[in-house]
């Protein structure tokens, strides 16, 4: 689960990482009220769950009330790569002498968290890694977390001045503790700045929480911004499905994540465009199938739907019955192609043909059929 900048900063503040004051506004008037209170100049920052907002014009420094009203009004409602801005963070503008990067990610290969710091902050760390890899220091965090001596080494890598290092060390150890305690999969400060007075501040916060750990973080689970997510993805999660919206015309309902990905790929391979990834899991539960169909039918671009089910422990005849129950419930109008194979395939075929439906058993054949149906329906 991705957190907004202001939510990440709340976590930072609670962990003792120095963050400038700031408040969130949902209207230009509120933004101006907050800015008046904080004192000018302030920065108006779009709160969206996607990177690149600065380049898109979603971050502006303003000097007075008129400018706040104008810029907050412009940024609120703005579309940044498909994400509509509904909130802006108002925070005092900070003078910057130096910008660093500090971030912790999960290193899958080493099976530990990995702290990366770089004196080249304020830009994409992937970019730094490509252009100047020597400017990144990597520190693997083992069971000890981040011992102070290693934090000191990282601080020395960032800045030669001891008074600055002394401020960076606790920021890094607290960031490491936060990453661990909050079950983060990413905790990033970019930029971590030094002001002309020599003070160190975290000017941005990017925190991602491990979805699998949300059960033990009720406070964080409550931070989920449902308005910022695709409604289909929200509904799917509530129903225990895994759904990702894509931009094609062929809806697919598949059991199993790997098979669902392979189905999308196969649609593209045969010249079609998948409208989604959707994994209904191993069950034949009509409720899940109904929820899946509801999500797909709400997507106006979907022209035809492919069911691709490998019946293993879940029997094909059960899946067929679940499908018919679901179709009766929602009165589906879209053309459907069904592919069933595995346990009790024959019985499933008979159940479906009793209702005038055909089930194919070959995956390539089914994909070609659904592409043809989608083309007819377009």
């Amino acid at each position: 689960m991705n957190l907004h900048e202001f939510q990440g900063k709340e976590l930072f503040r609670a962990a003792g990482i120095p963050v400038p004051p700031g408040e969130v506004a949902r209207s230009a008037d509120d933004a101006a009220t907050i800015a008046d209170r904080l004192g000018y100049p302030v920065v108006v920052k779009a709160q969206v769950l996607i990177g690149g907002r600065g380049k898109a014009g979603g971050v502006k420094v303003v000097k007075n009330r008129d400018e706040v009203l104008r810029e907050a009004g412009r940024i609120l409602g703005m579309d940044i790569r498909g994400h509509v801005v509904r909130q802006v963070l108002i925070t005092p503008a900070t003078d910057i002498e130096k910008e660093f990067y500090a971030g912790i990610v999960l290193d899958r290969k080493f099976e530990t968290p990995l702290l990366m710091v770089s004196p080249s902050g304020g830009v994409d760390i992937e970019e730094v890694a490509r252009m100047a890899p020597e400017k990144i220091l990597r520190v693997h965090l083992d069971g000890r977390g981040l011992p102070a001596y290693r934090a000191r080494a990282a601080a020395r890598f960032l800045d030669p001045r001891f008074p600055v290092q002394k401020q960076i060390v606790p920021i890094l150890t607290r960031l490491a503790a936060l990453y661990h305690d909050q079950d983060a999969s990413l905790a990033e400060i970019n930029p971590l700045v030094v002001s002309p007075k020599g003070e160190v501040w975290a000017l941005d916060a990017k925190v991602v929480i491990d979805d699998n750990a949300l059960d033990r973080h009720a406070d964080l689970a409550g931070m989920r911004d449902l308005g910022a997510e695709d409604p289909g993805e929200v509904e799917a999660r509530e129903k225990g499905l895994s759904y990702v919206r894509l931009d094609g015309t062929i809806g697919c309902v598949v059991n199993g994540a790997g098979l669902a990905m392979a189905t999308m790929d196969l649609i593209q391979y045969h010249g079609g465009k998948p409208a989604n990834f959707l994994d209904i899991g191993g069950s034949s539960n009509p409720d899940k199938v109904t929820a899946a169909m509801n999500i797909l039918t709400r997507d106006a671009r979907v022209r035809a739907v492919l069911f691709n089910i490998f019946g293993g422990i879940t029997r094909c005849d059960d899946v067929a019955r679940g499908l018919l129950t679901a179709l009766d419930r929602i009165g589906m109008k879209l053309p459907i192609v069904i592919r069933l194979t595995g346990t009790n395939e024959q019985e499933a075929r008979e159940i479906l043909s009793g209702r005038g439906m055909t089930a194919l058993s070959d995956m390539d054949e089914a994909v070609r059929a659904v592409i043809a149906r989608a083309a007819e329906a377009a």
Binding site: N255, I267, G312, T341
Partner: protein, 356 residues
């Protein structure tokens, strides 16, 4: 023969009185697996369909000599279940459970380091040596005994491929689902090394997907040490970046972990990559006829593999990629697996470097 499990394996089921545990315990037994015990704290002394239930893994192992444990407990209890089986020194632990927090797995990975237990999973379908032993949730009937090894990060996609192999008269020695999480016990490289050392496996099918760099590691290992042909398939070519595709580990992040990168890396290693799943049997057949003449560096054990990986590192490095760690992650020489020598799990010099 087969790798890791065979008809002599004695299986215990952790969480046997739960819905999934009891169902699959019976399914496994019906397949012919010797399911000798179950464990559910507080239910010791009872039985599930004649399978004796114990309060602890330690007691179950003592009384039944179980040497494989399969875990069907909820995610919140899974870490403890893995610890319990590890401390009881069960040689092979298979964790089916999905949804374990990454932090729990980080701790498990560190704990397993240097211990004798091999973990498969979590978030996996388990493994099967067709005709002999099934440990997991896969449908048994789609498999047939034979000489093709299979290793996969997926569940139903694996069944799909197995079913196609079986219908093409290509039986399997062992099929392993290693799981769809970012941190897993046995990786592609470990499984490949085991298949390489198994004289009843002629070729290996590897089914990967987006996310992480385990496929790239596998390609480097194949390039440097494998004499048997490998055929690959990678799912997720149409997956958008930054979106998790069902599996916790299936995500393209920071521009790395794409299907395209993985496919290109396999092709560079001389591994045929199927464009569609239905192509796999044909490619396996062709690879078997052709053999694998491409071996460039013949080296046993981890040193050779690690050296080869360095050489073969993809050009555009992802940020989070540290220096290589040895391929054979955990003791690959568990009794009777016929694998190459165990390597130290972590590359100590590399770690020291990152500490500078």
């Amino acid at each position: 023969m087969s790798i890791l499990i065979d008809r002599s394996s004695r299986v215990l089921v952790q969480g046997i009185t739960g819905r999934d545990g009891s169902f699959h315990a019976k399914q496994m037994r019906d397949y012919g697996t010797r399911v000798v015990a179950g464990v559910t704290p507080g239910k010791g002394g009872t039985d599930v369909d004649g399978i004796p239930v114990f309060d602890s893994v330690e007691e179950a192992v003592q009384k039944t000599k179980a040497d494989v444990s399969v875990i069907y407990v909820p995610a919140s209890l899974a870490q403890d279940a893995i610890y319990e089986a590890t401390d009881a020194e069960v040689p092979l632990v298979v964790c089916i459970t999905e949804g374990i927090p990454a932090r729990d797995m980080i701790e498990i990975a560190a704990y397993l380091n240097g211990r004798s237990t091999r973990l498969i999973g979590p978030n996996c379908p388990g493994l099967i040596s067709p005709g002999q032993c099934k440990v997991g949730i896969m449908p048994g009937f789609i498999h047939a005994p034979g000489r093709i090894g299979l290793v996969s990060r997926s569940g139903t996609l694996t069944y799909e491929v197995v079913w196609q192999l079986t219908r093409a008269k290509m039986g399997q020695s062992t099929c392993i689902g290693i799981g769809g999480d970012p941190i897993i016990g046995t990786r592609f490289t470990d499984a490949l090394a085991l298949f390489e050392g198994d004289d009843k496996t002629d070729a290996v099918v590897l089914i990967g997907e987006i996310g992480g760099a385990d496929e790239e590691e596998a390609a480097a290992l194949i390039e440097s040490t494998m004499t048997k042909p490998v055929v690959a398939f990678i799912a997720g070519q149409t997956a958008p970046p930054g979106k998790r595709m069902g599996h916790a580990g299936a995500i393209v992040s920071g521009g790395s972990g794409t299907a395209q990168e993985k496919i290109a890396r396999f092709e560079r290693a001389g591994v045929p990559v199927a464009k569609v799943p239905s192509d796999i049997p044909r490619l396996v057949q062709a690879a078997l006829e052709r053999g694998r003449p491409k071996l460039r560096v013949v080296a046993g054990g981890a040193g050779g593999a690690a050296a080869a990986r360095k050489k073969a590192a993809p050009k555009k490095r992802a940020v989070s990629r540290p220096v290589a760690k040895p391929a054979a992650k955990r003791g690959a020489t568990k009794k009777g697996t016929g694998a190459r020598p165990a390597a130290k799990r972590r590359a100590k010099p590399a770690r020291a470097k990152s500490r500078h």
